[in-house]
């Protein structure tokens, strides 16, 4: 069963194009410097429309998660993490932590993680995260 995938809108296309190009793109307000996610063409803090897209480091830490023991049919049959990562730039986003056992022992809160783009189709790559190397 094919994984449920996002349908980008004009306001979010830069983010998904970035994932395809191996770059985690956030937005930042050029007036108040606030970095934010999810994408929108204005600053949710001050309301300014003067915002820019920039490439984030792709680094952050594991903020919170669950391990789903009843996976959705398109997510396979094994328990898997559904996580929220806080990026070094500030914003948080939902993701899966991959590249490590899907257990409470392996998934420690505050552990450093880094983005790993996983190609799903020609149009969509998902920003997943794995334990940071080194």
């Amino acid at each position: 069963m094919a994984r449920m995938l996002p349908e980008p809108t004009p306001e979010t296309r830069h983010f998904w194009e970035g994932c395809k190009d191996g770059e985690l793109r956030l937005q930042r307000c050029t007036e108040c410097t606030h970095s934010y996610f999810p994408p929108r063409p204005f600053c949710p803090k001050c309301g300014s429309r003067d915002v820019e897209v920039y490439a984030a480091s792709g680094k952050g830490f594991l903020y919170s998660y669950v391990i789903n023991h009843r996976p959705r049919p398109d997510m396979g049959t094994e328990p898997h993490s559904i996580a929220v990562v806080e990026l070094d730039e500030g914003p948080r986003l939902m993701t899966n932590i991959v590249g490590c056992p899907q257990t409470p022992e392996a998934l420690q809160l505050d552990m450093k993680v880094q983005v790993k783009f996983e190609k799903q189709t020609d149009d969509i790559s998902l920003p997943l995260f794995e334990p940071a190397k080194g």
């Binding site: 996002p6 349908e7 809108t9 999810p38 919170s64 669950v66 929220v84 939902m94």
Partner: protein, 379 residues
């Protein structure tokens, strides 16, 4: 809103509760509405305002034969009915309608006439949460909890204790889905749903409904039941995506809504005799106790463990057994309101002796929205 200017004069749940495979969603709304009208001694022609979520107020009005001058279709999840009470109180005070019916009905378990779950892959949730395998509330509502547990040293046993104490309340209620006692070990040995949540930390899935009728306080005295006055109300919304909650240790919507309601009612926490906190999952009463200001951040686990919210405790909470043991059709807020009204009328199965003020806190979506209603039974 001026406290005590509006009162609940009709309140009833559906005739049956639990598994109701022979009634549709709309039928459950109607059953609850007819029971509430009977409770208040009213006919559909006496109702001039309608509010509901799940179905449209248009559908409800036509089905029941009501011609309203006020219609509220606010739909922000399980606390929609708290918002309906708030809006109805304002509408009655503003003269938009005199007698307002609020209904809930949901075929959560049997899914009769219930439609499917819509998924929009281009919504923000569809783009930024659905791709990671979230399914239903057990994989979304629970996501902030490991952070909360780490921040305040909350254990799995603490979460289990919430379920254990609510089962004790449920045992006193003949209409509860689950009445048999459970222990912390029972909860911790129940099947894993989404770590750290086990089955007995998650709400039921049942069929049912409920309805309320509100009118002005000066008219309320003429109804057959003891009026239950609205002392204060609050509402707020935060985010449709749980991953974007400002703080995983606390719900902003709870804090804003609760503060507003307490200010409006002009009461202190020590004045509260009875409390309902929407418990779709075991962590919600902990967040609610803290965010409403009954205890300081991080103290709810001890407050519950020391049995303050249990039978005989100083702040009886979720006395119907809650969403964990009483019933949970999907939008549980109506049943929390029902129990507050019963406690204020003095007719609850687990009646709190002499209770004069009840606080009823609802949540919508996954910490997406909140509604607070404070009731009293003294004019």
């Amino acid at each position: 809103m001026k406290p005590k200017s509006v009162a609940v004069v009709g309140a009833a749940e559906t005739t049956k509760m639990g598994k109701i495979p022979d009634v549709s969603v709309l039928g459950l709304h109607a059953d609850a509405a007819l029971n509430a009208m009977k409770d208040a001694g009213l006919k559909p022609s006496d109702i001039d305002g309608v509010a509901t979520a799940g179905v449209s107020p248009v559908e409800l009005a036509q089905y029941l034969g009501i011609t309203p001058t006020y219609a509220d279709g606010t739909s922000v999840g399980g606390c929609s009915f708290m918002l309906h009470v708030r809006h109805a109180a304002a509408a009655i005070n503003a003269g938009l309608a005199k007698t307002i019916l609020i209904t809930h009905g949901e075929s959560g378990r049997s899914r009769v006439g219930a439609g499917g779950f819509g998924r929009n892959a281009s919504s923000l949730m569809g783009q930024f949460e659905m791709p990671y395998g979230v399914t239903s509330p057990p994989t979304m509502f629970t996501i902030p909890v490991l952070r909360y547990m780490k921040t305040y040293g909350v254990t799995e046993e603490d979460l289990a204790m919430v379920a254990v104490i609510q089962r004790e309340w449920a045992a006193l209620n003949p209409r509860s889905s689950f009445k048999d006692p459970i222990t912390v070990d029972d909860v911790l040995n129940s099947p894993m749903i989404a770590w750290p949540f086990r089955m007995l930390m998650c709400c039921l899935v049942t069929d049912g409904g409920g309805a309320l009728i509100l009118t002005s306080a000066d008219r309320a005295k003429d109804f057959p039941n003891k009026p239950v006055y609205v002392l204060g109300t609050g509402e707020s919304v935060e985010t449709p995506m749980v991953s974007q909650m400002e703080d995983f240790n606390s719900s902003k919507a709870f804090r804003v809504s609760g503060k507003k309601a307490f200010e409006e009612a002009g009461i202190k926490h020590a004045d509260v005799d009875h409390l309902m906190i929407y418990d779709a999952f075991a962590h919600l009463p902990l967040y609610g106790l803290e965010d409403l200001g009954f205890v300081k951040p991080g103290e709810a686990k001890d407050f519950v463990r020391e049995r303050n919210t249990a039978i005989g405790g100083k702040l009886p909470m979720n006395t119907n057994g809650g969403g964990l043991s009483y019933m949970h059709s999907g939008m549980y807020g109506m049943y929390a309101l029902m129990e507050s009204v019963r406690q204020m009328r003095g007719t609850a199965a687990a009646q709190v002796d002499g209770a004069k003020i009840s606080v009823c806190q609802g949540v919508g979506g996954m910490f997406a929205a909140a509604g607070t209603v404070i009731f009293g039974n003294e004019a």
